[in-house]
């Protein structure tokens, strides 16, 4: 069986389908596919295969970004990635239905970012604080208030707490969801507490997993203004 030599190559047709050719080239290909049934068939297949593939892997776009990836981007290797602008974090995990936070073994560094919203502030200095940090403020009362506030989730929700030990008064306030492109299950919150000599505030991010766990990243506290 003999065939006429083709006046086209598949790569030219795919570029035509994807509108990646110059106008003169587009016109030339249009002429070819008008006259050549095989070229028309190829063009149709190239179009249909692109359409079929386009949304075949969209599942990650329909779900929240896993907390471990957010933590990775926030943590990374603080010593090399962010130079002197390291910000300490405390990673903690809340289990659904249990107003007690289980401290994660790891501490995270350098979430000195806006999470798409630009409202996180880098704290001066740096260093790493481990879970259950040195300020000793991770009390059960605070954890219960944080859990209650997160469960309510409405921006402006404020849950006050009083620590029986140490005499601290504090409150957790839900700021609101973070940028949508981070995932739909993350909330920013503000934590403030004071005692006789200090008034401190810190910001945090809590992301809820599909299994209902809250992963909480807390910025280091700093004096409240």
């Amino acid at each position: 069986m003999t065939k006429q030599p083709k006046s086209w190559v598949e790569s030219m047709l795919v570029a035509y389908v994807d509108n990646q050719l110059e106008p003169a080239q587009m016109a030339a290909v249009e002429e070819i596919i008008r006259d050549d049934p095989e070229a028309r068939t190829i063009v149709a297949v190239l179009r249909r295969s692109a359409a079929a593939v386009k949304t075949a892997f969209d599942q990650p776009l329909r779900e929240a970004v896993p907390a471990r990836l957010l933590a990775t981007v926030g943590a990374g290797d603080g010593s090399t990635a962010v130079g002197g602008n390291v910000v300490s974090l405390v990673a903690r995990k809340l289990r659904l239905g249990r107003p007690t936070i289980t401290a994660l073994a790891a501490s995270l560094a350098a979430l000195a970012i806006g999470f798409g919203a630009g409202h996180w502030q880098a704290a001066p200095g740096g260093g790493i604080r481990v879970a259950g940090g040195s300020d000793g403020a991770e009390s059960g009362q605070y954890e219960a208030a944080l859990y209650q506030a997160l469960e309510d989730s409405n921006p402006g929700t404020q849950i006050a707490y009083v620590e029986t030990a140490g005499g601290r008064h504090g409150a957790v306030t839900i700021v609101g969801p973070v940028a949508a492109n981070v995932g739909g299950n993350c909330l920013e919150f503000l934590r403030e507490w004071s005692d006789a000599s200090n008034k401190v505030m810190s910001r945090g991010l809590a992301c809820r997993s599909d299994t209902g766990e809250w992963s909480v990243l807390t910025m280091p506290p700093k004096p409240a203004s």
Binding site: S11, A50, V53, A56, T72, D77, V82, A122
Partner: protein, 174 residues
């Protein structure tokens, strides 16, 4: 600047997860790949050139890490569709639901069966919406190679999905 880059990187995570899902054929493996790529990127943040595209840089890191892992493992990705994929489909009656699931599985199998270099091109252009030029930059190959690999990938997927509509490569060679 570093803070801005990190914020931008967080915004890219959904797309990087989609790209990695397409490369690996598995959500979990894809997330592992993205996590490894982010760690690599953060270690090399000083190598990112301001004024260039962070998404291209990250796609390249994901792709290169995937190739490294593939060479280490010498294994092809699983072509099977994960149950989670199927649950996520918005469908109507049972018959349509089954059709949708089978169609999605067919497409994913077809993509998984492509050679690595064709799959990456196909995902970058047809899924991630990158221009030919951007895809060429990501993969560090000439524009003409992008076009020829993309055409081969699209025709292979087309043949897998509708074998009656197109000749096989040996028949079509002319």
């Amino acid at each position: 600047m570093t803070q801005e880059l990190r914020a931008e990187l967080v915004g890219l995570l959904p797309r990087l997860r989609r790209f990695a899902y397409g490369l690996t054929g598995s959500l979990d493996d894809g997330d592992d790949l993205v996590q490894g790529a982010c760690e690599r990127a953060l270690r090399r943040l000083d190598q990112f050139q301001p004024g260039t595209r962070l998404d291209s840089w990250m796609y390249r890191i994901v792709q290169n890490l995937w190739i490294d892992q593939r060479r280490a493992r010498q294994a092809r990705p699983e072509a099977a569709v994960e149950p989670a994929d199927l649950e996520a489909l918005a469908v109507g009656d049972a018959e349509r639901e089954l059709d949708s699931r089978l169609a999605l599985a067919s497409v994913q199998r077809a993509v998984a069966s492509l050679p690595e270099e064709q799959r990456a091109i196909l995902l970058l252009v047809c899924v991630e919406g990158q221009s030919y030029k951007a895809a060429a930059d990501v993969l560090e190959i000439p524009l003409g190679t992008v076009m020829s690999r993309l055409a081969r990938a699209r025709l292979a997927v087309g043949r897998a999905l509708e074998p009656e509509s197109i000749e096989s490569p040996s028949q079509a060679k002319g």
